[in-house]
Symmetry: C2
């Protein structure tokens, strides 16, 4: 009480008082302050209160840099996303953070923006930060995979969402896009459609896209002809097929020029579907009478399109929760445990873009 009245900008001049400042203030060892802050070890109740008071008065906040350095873990999980703009990313993050928050982890988000270079930079940043683990939801690329595997070899715990990464210690969470697309096609078939197109993929390199496989398999299983002329994707030079309204619009315009055009289309995702619907309307056709449309993802907007969009709902937040849970399990438990894979069911949401056809074959 002889050095009175010091505000939070105390001893060390910086605006961040340290544990040492607190300790000096009340005349104890820094270690004692540390124990109070972390509620670890023995501290008498009287001391605890004295320290607490000083902590609040001086507005002390632990320096996570120093703490993480000493503890050799950061309590940080990196999240790598293709981009930030879409509802899928947002929902996924929500699910992940729900779990992390409860277990007092923090998350850092990095985005790829379609560039493998960006992806590596972001991963490197997370690695340099000594993130305790990462959740990866980017599109697969050769380079990207190589780099991820390298990080895994460096013992960085990892989980992937909605994609693959072939490594025995990388957990994996997905939704069953194959099944969702399969059901969507069966729904169209039940409505009487026979000639069903696919918008958002190039027939050549759609192999990795499970929702596209689901479309193909459903068509085959029902003895329907797969006509590559009504499977349209982004223009060749568009790079790594990244799907937006624009792609859907352009591709569908090409599709509509074909003589025997389909009576229904399945779109790679809802935004592609929205672009497609716009193209269909611009061509003077009605939805669903002249052409039915099915999307994929059930973004919030899908209920408000004109007409409201039939689409496949995938449990996005749940994928996030599961991925986070698996990852934390690995981080805090057996880091070498064999990978787990979780595949969640999708379900079809039927709206007005696929009403039963009135005058159809």
């Amino acid at each position: 009480m002889n050095k009175p009245r010091k505000n939070q900008n105390s001893v060390n001049g910086s605006s961040h008082p340290t544990i040492v400042d607190i300790a000096r203030q009340i005349g104890v060892a820094p270690m004692t302050v540390s124990r109070v802050i972390n509620e670890s070890g023995y501290v008498s109740e009287a001391m605890r209160q004295r320290v607490q008071a000083a902590v609040t008065e001086m507005n002390y906040r632990p320096n996570v840099l120093a703490r993480s350095l000493k503890r050799q873990r950061t309590q940080v999980i990196g999240i790598l996303l293709p981009d930030i703009a879409n509802p899928f990313s947002a929902e996924l993050v929500r699910g992940i953070q729900e779990v992390l928050l409860a277990r007092s982890y923090t998350s850092f988000i990095g985005t790829t923006e379609r560039s493998t270079q960006r992806e590596q930079a972001e991963l490197r940043a997370l690695f340099d930060l000594r993130a305790d683990g990462i959740i990866v939801a980017t599109r697969e690329t050769k380079k990207g995979n190589d780099y991820l595997l390298k990080l895994t070899e460096n013992r960085l715990p990892m989980a992937v969402v909605g994609r693959t990464l072939n490594h025995p210690q990388v957990d994996r969470v997905t939704a069953d896009h194959w099944q969702g697309a399969y059901e969507a096609v069966e729904h169209l078939i039940a409505l009487g459609h026979r000639r069903i197109g696919y918008v958002g993929v190039q027939p050549i390199n759609g192999g990795g896209l499970r929702r596209y496989q689901g479309y193909l398999d459903a068509m085959r299983d029902h003895q329907l002809k797969i006509d590559e002329r009504i499977i349209v994707g982004p223009a060749e030079q568009a790079g790594p097929g990244y799907s937006t309204q624009d792609d859907g619009y352009a591709a569908t315009n090409r599709l509509l020029k074909i003589k025997q055009r389909p009576t229904a289309i399945v779109a790679r995702n809802d935004f592609t579907a929205i672009g497609a619907m716009c193209a269909i309307r611009d061509a003077g056709l009605r939805i669903p009478e002249d052409m039915a449309v099915v999307g994929f993802d059930n973004v919030p907007l899908a209920a408000y399109t004109a007409p409201p969009l039939t689409t496949v709902d995938q449990p996005t937040a749940e994928q996030g929760r599961q991925a986070a849970t698996l990852l934390l399990e690995r981080i805090e438990g057996d880091r070498a445990r064999e990978r787990r894979e979780i595949n969640l069911a999708c379900h079809l949401v039927i709206r007005a873009s696929t009403q039963p056809a009135t005058q159809r074959t």
Copy 2:
């Protein structure tokens, strides 16, 4: 060369070799390695190459925790957003990161999810991390403002985007929503509309919303009656007026029940507008013949709605760039400099939702 063949998981057993490991490997002092890594001070070319080789071979990456701790700055800028789901956030982040990347800063994103509690938690996290500065783009709340001011008092450099914060050291970047809305209303008036509604705000508490003020002022300046019955917002109990398709849909449904309904509406933002359009169609009315609609923000989707949406474009990425530039200027220069404010112009994008009326007064 007597302890041969060590892979990257070297001396200290962890998968992260340190500067000391490198130094030992080639028999020099850690300081020399540090100098090579940071390209600071004098190092002979021969030494530089020797160190570089070891760094690559052992896959060394500097520990940013230790580095930041020592340097007393993290090169991290925190970004606080209301949420991650919307295109505005995405564009803003893109603009910010463009600047940060070029100046070798990293950014961490925190989201509020409409909760002041979450907001404080995220801010605290950024503060604890010793972020060098933060950019805040959340909605204003009393509690939120108080906390932000407290952080500013603790000398955390700050810039706000699309909102206010009254402090002489907080820079501010906005787009002129007032002017954008004003132009939108004048556009409708020029098309012959006299009775123009507003969707997405409650007349009572719209005071803080500049785009709403622009609507009111434009109406007044053109001697048009402001009728509070055709100004509809989210239901009272909806909490902090957060606008989505759902709100727009519900509010517009209420609006459509009014006898003398407006011939045009201005929506608080594009998503509200999309909800509104859906409600209008559901009521069996045509857009724009029976009711014209103007949105705000020009989200990518606005070009693909049915009909394509007339809306006010705001330079979002540019706001991000400007905010980041101002903030870095403050961080690296005079931290006490008087605040700067930048107000960027908006412009109207005319599409089909407001075509010149055919049979109107």
